[in-house]
Every structure is written in C-alpha cells, then in structure tokens.
Symmetry: C2
Subunit: 311 residues, 2 copies
Amino acid sequence: MALVANANGHVLSEALSATPPAGDPEQVVDAMVQTTQKAIQNAGLDLQDIQGVGIAAAGGIDPYRQVVVHSPNLPGWADVPLGQMFRRHVDLPTSISNDANLAALGEQRYGAGRGVSNLLFITVSTGIGGGIIINGRLYEGRSGYAGEVGHISVLTDGPYGRSQTQGAWEALASGTALAADAQRRLDAGESSSLQAQVLYQGLEGITAEMVFKALEQGDQLAQRVVEQGIGYLASGLLSLVNVLDPEKVIIGGGLSNQWQRYIGPAVAIMREQAFAGLGRDLAVEPPELGVRAGALGAVALAVDAAAELGR
Amino acid sequence: MALVANANGHVLSEALSATPPAGDPEQVVDAMVQTTQKAIQNAGLDLQDIQGVGIAAAGGIDPYRQVVVHSPNLPGWADVPLGQMFRRHVDLPTSISNDANLAALGEQRYGAGRGVSNLLFITVSTGIGGGIIINGRLYEGRSGYAGEVGHISVLTDGPYGRSQTQGAWEALASGTALAADAQRRLDAGESSSLQAQVLYQGLEGITAEMVFKALEQGDQLAQRVVEQGIGYLASGLLSLVNVLDPEKVIIGGGLSNQWQRYIGPAVAIMREQAFAGLGRDLAVEPPELGVRAGALGAVALAVDAAAELGR
C-alpha cells in the first residue's frame, strides 16, 4: 500500500500492489516505486510536490542505516539496503521503520493515541508486535528493535517459538499460540468439537478463529485454551505497564476482535495486578486507523524528518 | 545522606543522618532539613548559594505532585506531600523522584552510563529495582512508576511476592527470593550444608549471602537454587532488552557482587536469546557511583530542573 497524505494525516490518494511472489529485493523495490508513483498520480500531484517518503517494513529494520536486517515474510531478505535502493528510483528524503513501530506512531499522531505523549501500542494476531512512543516521538532504541514486545519472556521455562527468547510472549499468547495449544490438546486426546471439524471438514489445522468459535459454542477445550492464553496475555501486559507506565495502551491486531473474550479479561487482570494500582485508571483502547495505521505512521515519520531538516 | 555538588557532579560536601525510628513524616522531614543544612555548612556555603534541591526517596513516588504515595520502609507513609513539607523549611526549587530512578540518572550523568542516551539501570538486592533513561533524560511515565522492573512478570503462574503482580521478577530472582527458595527446599527435606548452619548457629533464617557461600563450597541445594534464579534473572533481562533495546545496561545492587556466579550467567543467556541478536554486543556493566548513586541522580535532577527554569 502506498498513500499520499498531508502533514495532518489527511489521505489524498492511495494505491495498492501485491508483493512480487519471488520476493527478489530489486523486484520488490520496483513494485514499491511503481505503487508510490501511482499514488502520487492518483492524488493529481508530481514528485516535486512530495516533501518526503516514509516506509513501513515488516521484520527487523535498522532505521538508522535504513536496512531490512531480516524479514519474516521475504525469506531471502538479509541486510537489504532498502532506503538506498528506493532512493535510486525516487530522489526524495526517505525514512524507514518497522511496521508495528509505525502503526504505533500513526495511532499516536492521527488515531486513538492523539494527544498522548507516552503510548504503548500492541498488536496481537498471528504474532505479537508493538511500538513505543515516548515524549511524543517513536522510541526505536539502539538497533531500531525497541518495542519488540512479542519477545518479552512471560514463562521462564516456556517454549521458544519464532524468536530465540524462551517463554516469548508471542509463543504463548498470539493467535498462532492459541491454535497450537488447541492442536496439542487434541493430539493428547482431549475431546472437543474442534476434532470433528478437523477430521470431517478436511481442514489443515486449527486456527485461533476456530478456537473462539468453539468457545462461543461452549466447547470445554477451547475454554481451557483461551483461559490459559488470557493468563499469558495478562503477564505480558503487566510487564509492559509496570516498566513503561504509559498514558494509554492501544491493543490492535486480529485478536482485538475478541476483545470481550480475550483482550478484555487480560486487561482486567492487568488492572488488578499492576504495580501500585497504576493499571486501575489506565486507558486501554482499540486502534482507530485499521490497515492504514502503518502507512499513516510512515507519513508521520516523514513529517518528523522533514521538520528536522527544516523543510 | 545529603550531599552538595556542582553541576558536574563534583561533590563538595556530605552529611549523614539516621531516619527517625518512628518514621513520623514531620520528624523525617526535620531530619532531612537538618542534614541538608549541615551538608551546606560543611561545604562552606549558605542557602543562597544553592540553585536547587533534588530528593531521592524510596517507594512509590509521584514526581509530578512531589508526593510519597507509599513507602516500603516507612509503613505510616501514605500520600505524604514531601516536596511541599520540605520547601516549608528550605525555600528552594525542589525536585523529587524514586531512588532507583535517580540512581539510573546518577550513573548516566556522572557514572558508568556517561555519554549513553538510552540506558537501562537495574539493581538486584533484597528486591529488584531500576530506572530508564531515554534520550538522556529520566523517563518517569504517567505516574512516576516507569522503570519498576522488579514487577515485570517472568512466570505467569508464579508467586506474587511483595507486589500484586503474579510471577513478579523480584519474587523470583532477588536475594530475598533465592533465600526463600533455599529455605523452601530445606523445609521440603532436601539436604544441604545450610541446614547445619541454621540448626547449630542459631540463625534466624537463610540469606542470599549464605546461599552463595554454600555454592562456593560445592553445596548441591545452593547450586539448584542459584541455577533456577539465573533462569529467572535471564528472563527479566530478556524482556527488558527486547522492549527497550538500550545502549547499555548497568546492573548494581548487593547481588552484583556475585557477578561471576549469578549476574554473568544470566547476562550470557540474555546475549544468546535476545531478539535478532541485539544482546550480543550490548554493553552490560556494574555501576560506578556506589551508595552515592541516588544522591548524585538527585543532583542531576536538580540541575535539569534549574536548566528548565533557565537559571
């Protein structure tokens, strides 16, 4: 997705494209450039009307060197100098950051976090990601990895999951983790309505969506899976709230659709257990910007960079 | 402790006093005022030579309202307006913060963290405390409780300890936690040289120091206690490093004397498991300022406040 917006986050145009399936860096950058040019055209503008470009990229991003260190979706990507490659085609000041970081910045600048100086943004879906705003600016840390909240450890002896961190939050409380736990319980012989679905409907495996649907229908296994997940989800929330003492927490991602059944109960535990009662009146809300959050965060990043350059 | 220092953290004088045993707020403030006046006198200065006062206080401190919300050491203290009370006697600009936060600021400004913009400071002793420096300034959060790293959750189903947080880091990895675990194991019938010490030397109970001494002498129970503690210690370090991606971590407190046996092995696990290898070359060091860290942080706080007032 490429979008053209003014400094207030007002979107003038948008253009979409698919990532080239092979994921070759040159081809991906070509597609990004074309989509950017299309969005500028759609807005009725020229390149010289554009003050700067912000890029939201998934994975491990070094925002200082503008390099994609690794990508979860594009396996061949290692140390790809995305900023440099993009600027070869589009000669504009370019800033890059992690997409979850930029979703945080987008919400803080134009969404549910407007007016909040210290914001914690969490996205709970197949994995768990996040971003931290301190004093109104994106906090990226030494390597650009600050806010990798999915990789905090909430169970010292727990599983490793995608990250190398033992007991990683996302290995226990993400949608993937809930689905895997349900599958493990089925494999161990626990009975559930999910079993029939897998057997007779030819499904490849359990999904978090199936677990929540089964829960809704009173399935006991699903209830155990979700209850345990709520405990893990609460632990991570507690850690983050106790360390960061934010003004507001925004929780998005696919599982935020299960606010009443999953996010809400974990937030309630956090409110009860946070240090010195600081969770009691803490604002916890869903995001406002939807799929555009990252792109709008990239707009804010470009706006901030332009302000620093005095443009 | 009261000390007089210039803006470079150079200490001109120091005065010590004991906290009045009853802990009555008026009496404590009187003692603070007297110690402050003595330190000023010791420096050969008058009150009008002093630009500002910084106060480091233990417990839950609201730095914005300058109130001690609760104190672990002074049970009667609840919502004590310390800043206001102090200024009734000493009419100078006064700033207040949590002592661990100020130890972090002290180390960043005048100690092991000099030149570091984003610093994580951790103190591991009877409890676990800490402080966070972001962009060269103390980060205090919404309520002044940011950096309460002892209350992150590293074991979802773990014990509650002092804080309300289940699986709180300090309930599992502090000196108190190690001693309690050793005691629990003794009570459960595990054999150890510690048993004889408790029985025949009339000691009141196990201490962390005794555990490490026993470990040194090859005691198996002590080894199990410390090994488990290292795992918990590593989990908390991992969470903090993955969230904050700091430039440097300073680890102090009584247990930092056990660097080789306790802190070091946990740091090694953190280096191995941190997200995207960001722990590998991360600087982890002991503090430099010793018992003066908090007081020197209070100096830095006063210096920052004076700078903001344009004095």
